[in-house]
Every structure is written in C-alpha cells, then in structure tokens.
C-alpha cells in the first residue's frame, strides 16, 4: 500500500543537522558516547533508522496454531497483530484502523473471524483485507477503493523454525541473509536439545514489564556480557541452579573453550562454548533423575545427529537490534521494546522441547521462574544496574565521558577453527581472559551503520 509519506522531517519541525555518529560511537578505540543512550533526538532517529528497517521478532507459530488465531505484539513502539488467516497464512499488521487510526485488535490473543473497529465499524478480515464498511455504497459510492485501505501489513515476513520475524522495509534483504552466519547460533535456541531441527515450543505466559533504562542496555548485556559476575554474586551465594548450587550446572562450560562470537557487519552476537573434542559431558541435573536422564539422552542424540557440531553450546546473545535468544537453560527469548529513550518494555518468552516429558518441562519452568524476569533472583539485579547506569549517564557532565569498551580490543579471528571444526563469525577465545567486549563492539558498530545509512543498499554494502 504505497502512500507517499508526509512525515515531520520532510515537513519541517525536526532539526536536520546530521548527527556525527562516528564521533559518538568509536568502536575502533572502544569508546561509546553516553549521548546515544539518553538523547531524545537520537532515540527518535533510532525508531526510523533502525526499528522501521531492521528485521524484528514478532512471535512464535505455536502461539497461533489454528486459523483465526491472533496474538498482539510490538515492532518498536507500535502495536502489531500476528494473525493466521482463514487459509492458514500468517500475517503481521499494524494494529491501527485506516479510517481514524483506532486500535482494531484490543486483546492480547484469541481467535476471531475479523477485526472490527469499535469507532465506526470498519472491519478487516484476518488477512488484513478491508471487508466491512458501514453504508459503503450509500456513503462512499465509487470514492472508496477498499483494496487500498486494508490493514497496513509489514513489507516482509518470514517464519524460521517456528519464530516469526518481520520488517517494514521492502528493500531489506531476506531474513536468512539478515541472519547470515548467525543462523548456526540461533539454531542452538530453536532446535530441539537432541539436535533435531526446530521442535521447540512456547510455554504459555509471556513476562511483560517496564524498566527505566534505554533499550540498548539489555540488548548489549545479552549480546555477551560475561563480565558482570558481581551483579549476580548474591545468587551464586544462595544457589538456584538445577542442582541447587550456583546459578546453573556448568557442564557446558567446564572443559570447554569460551568463545565470544560476533558478526560486526550484521550486529548479531552470542556467547558460545565449545567442548573439548575429546572430553565427555559431565552429568547434570543430578537432583532430578528424570531430567538428568532426559538431557543425557538428548546429548547422545545430538552427538549422533550433529557430529562435531555437538560440541557447540550457546548462551545469551542478541540478534540486532533488540531480540535476545538465550540458548541454554533456562532457555528463553527476550525482546527489548523501546519506550522512549529512558524506558524499555521487556518481553520474555520461554521455550522448551515440544516433546519433552511433562516432568522435564515442569522442572525447567520452575528453574526459569526463579532465574529470569522481574521475579527471577538473577535478573532482578540486572534491572537495578541498568536502571541506575542509565540514570547516572543523563547529566550534562556525564555525557561528556564515553563508556569504556576496550576489553579485548583488536583481538579475535574470523577464521576460527578447532580440531577441524570451523565456526563462523568474528570469534575471540576468552577461556583465559574470562571476558571481552568484542560482542558489544560488534553491536554498536552495526548500530552506527544503521544510524548513518540512507538505505538498505548502503547497509548491505557493509
């Protein structure tokens, strides 16, 4: 539905002097200005340069199994509808009537035959078509071309292993190109634990909550912050792991190489672990025999299915800009919806192997609840730190001092190999170093591309 845009910056009203993003984000020297977190004007431009152009996570197929099912989601600040039409095709629409903009879908989820606008009664089919217009013939005659006034649909939408992604930009590359080599790592979240493709599902109940910080604090933290152990010291002392100790059973970390993986030209990153090729897997979940047995079997399966790749384990990561897979247990997917420069609405979805035994699902559900989200013992302290890191960066003086991203500056290889196993991405082995900021630099480098680029043709060029 191409209607020429008449937006403010064309129509005046916003300052037009270009912002010097290279000056604000100097990843080459490991310096990032605080301005990009707290400036109203930069935030406004992020909505247009990033959230109106990038591929964004919308939801999961398992949320809308039947024709007519819908779920409300967000793209940036805007409400969108994830809908499965009567023919079974999936769509993503802006949740706003074309007549006077009323929000046409007012429920979090459900099943419907149409979206009826409560203001004047225009109704839209589940495929977005404008089907009902009161007094259409008498009041509009020939004037109204219904075909031009359906719900605003995204320019591109793709379903990947159950997850649904969309973009408002028709010139954006296909989703898999957008994902690039990161696919291998995202699969660590989306594939079944035993290595079969896909096979994960969402367990009901999405955590949704508001936090007082810029959306990039959680995005960069999840992209690969191995360094904030101090934040979670209290949990390590108390012990909430599956075996009642520490934060988690560390089997994937012991006797493994710690890899910080990032794709600077894409902006995606993940923390990964590569098991030694010759070390067996330590037992885990020892307190819960059924769970322990399940994972043991899964690992065996995976080894057979994946061959050498079984050695690769995931952790937290971020798909640029604001979707964060957490590829180990508790296995979740987080979305950081921007709500102004100073606030973020967090969404948290919980994934399990669809065909795991009930006991396993229940065990992991409890683990998730005590670990993650606003009631999670671990992440409560993240919210606190992001809150006051943001707040303390807003001032006139504070803004003059860039953040420090020098850890592991200049290190890493894009030709990583281990006993013949090649892994994609700019990879830095931090087994000795414990941590680096390669992933964060990858994130902000791409952020700089997006903010400066006039179009996707420029963005693809990188």
């Amino acid at each position: 539905m191409a209607i020429e845009r008449v937006a403010m910056e064309d129509a005046g009203g916003h300052p037009t002097r270009p912002i010097d993003f290279a000056g604000l984000v100097d990843v080459e020297r490991g310096a990032v200005s605080r301005e990009i977190f707290v400036s109203e004007e930069i935030y406004r431009q992020e909505l247009e340069q990033i959230f109106a152009r990038a591929w964004l996570f919308i939801g999961h197929e398992s949320q809308i199994p039947r024709a007519g099912d819908f779920v409300a989601s967000f793209m940036g600040e805007e409400s969108v509808i994830l809908s499965r039409d009567r023919g079974g095709r999936v769509h993503v629409f802006l949740n706003s009537c074309r007549h006077r903009g009323m929000k046409v879908c007012r429920y979090d989820d459900g099943n419907t035959v149409e979206f009826l606008c409560p203001y004047h009664g225009w109704s839209y089919a589940t495929d977005g078509t404008l089907v009902g217009v009161p007094f259409a013939k008498d009041a509009y005659g020939e004037q109204l071309d219904k075909s031009r006034w359906g719900l605003i649909e995204v320019a591109q939408m793709e379903s990947y292993k159950g997850t649904i992604w969309a973009t408002w930009d028709r010139s954006a590359p296909p989703f898999l190109d957008y994902l690039g080599g990161y696919k291998l790592y995202l699969d660590l979240l989306l594939d079944a634990w035993d290595g079969r493709e896909g096979g994960t599902e969402v367990i009901g109940g999405i955590h949704k909550w508001l936090i007082p910080c810029n959306w990039k604090f959680p995005a960069e933290n999840f992209s690969g912050d191995r360094y904030h152990g101090v934040s979670h010291r209290s949990v390590d002392m108390v012990g909430i792991g599956p075996s009642g100790k520490g934060r988690r059973d560390m089997q994937e970390r012991n006797e493994a190489r710690w890899l910080d993986v990032t794709f600077p030209e894409l902006g995606h990153s993940m923390i990964a672990f590569l098991r030694n090729h010759d070390s067996p897997l330590a037992p885990a979940y020892q307190d819960a025999p059924i769970v322990a047995e399940y994972f043991r079997r899964c690992e065996e399966e995976r080894q057979r299915r994946r061959g050498e790749y079984w050695r690769l384990f995931g952790g937290p990561g971020t798909v640029f800009p604001n979707t964060s897979p957490l590829a180990r247990q508790p296995r979740t997917l987080a979305v950081w919806h921007p709500r102004g420069p100073h606030q973020t609405e967090c969404w948290r979805i919980y994934l399990v192997d669809a065909d795991a035994p009930a006991e396993v699902k229940d065990f992991l559900r409890h683990y998730y609840i005590r670990y993650s989200g606003p009631s999670g013992l671990t992440e409560q302290d993240d919210m606190e730190n992001w809150n006051y890191a943001h707040a303390a960066s807003r001032g006139t003086i504070a803004r003059q001092y860039p953040y420090n991203y020098e850890m592991g500056l200049g290190l890493g290889t894009d030709a990583f190999e281990d006993h013949g196993l090649k892994l994609p991405g700019l990879i830095l082995d931090v087994t000795q170093a414990n941590a680096s900021e390669n992933n964060q630099r990858g994130f902000y480098g791409r952020w700089r591309h997006f903010m400066g680029a006039a179009s996707w043709s420029e963005l693809k060029a990188r």
Partner: protein, 181 residues
Amino acid sequence: MSVVPPELARLLLKEEVEDFLYREAELLDERRFEEWLELFTEDVRYWMPMRRNVPADEPEREFTREGRDVNWFDEGKDTLTRRVKQIRTGVHWAEQPPSRICHMVSNVQILAMTPDGASPTEVTVKSRFLLYRNRMETETDLLVGKREDLLRRVDGGWKIAHRKIVLDQSVLLAKNLTFFF
C-alpha cells in the same frame, strides 16, 4: 473456663485472622523475613499468575495457570527461603539500599471454614492489598490487588498453606519484584 457463645467465637476468629495478616505485613515491612517464613507451612504453594487482556466472555483465559504456565511466582517454601537468603547476602544490589515498603491490607473476608463452626482447622481468607514501594531518591511503585489465602491451624497458631496473589496489572508496572506480597 467460660463458654464462648458462637457469635463471639466467630468474631474472635475474624479478629485472629485479621491480626495474623497484619502481623505478617509488619514482619515484611520491618524486614524480619526469617520470622515471616515461619508463617508458611512446609508444603506451601505461593502463586502469583500473570493476566492477559481477553474478551469479557473468555475469563477462563485471563490468568496463567498454577503449576503449568509461566507465572510471576509459582513457589514452594524452598525458593521463598532462597529469596530471603538472597536479601540477607548484603550483595543483592536491587535491595541495597533497602526499599521502603508498606503493605496495606484491607477487606479481610473469611470465605470458608473447615470444619465449619467454632474451631475450624482451615480457613480460606480473601483480602485486598496495596503495596507501596519507594527507594533511593524518588523511585516509587504502587501495586494493588487481592490475595486468597488458605490458612491452616498448626499447633495453636495459623500458617499459610496456599496463597494466590492477583495483581491488578497485565504489563507489570515495576522494574522487578524483589519484595513479597
């Protein structure tokens, strides 16, 4: 000893239950968390569901389910105890400095007694709460809702065997839940 008339017995029970809930609030606001834990049975279920926006005629889909879905809380005594321990570590940053918290409890109703009559061993109690949190300089949260408790008589006193917390919010309007309801 004097025989207590049934009407008086009912009042005494009511007052006993109210006082129990007020003392609980006091223990929480005074940060006497270990004593607070003692108010729960060993097999307690502490459940706070999430809420969805659904049509008025589909109420069954509104709440996430205890024991099946992801909830705000779906706890036993073990994790409640760990939460208290975490606060006591002194390095639980989200509570350093501690939040200033006030639990206002109102509308206390006894919905059921078993056995019915003068001296029940279990009572179902509904109440409403307003939880006010203020911390650091100006950080403020206001959380309002209902609680439904199953109280069980244990050696002379009452303990909470089951608690359901219904927060009147869908998107949680607080950055975290480092306190108890």
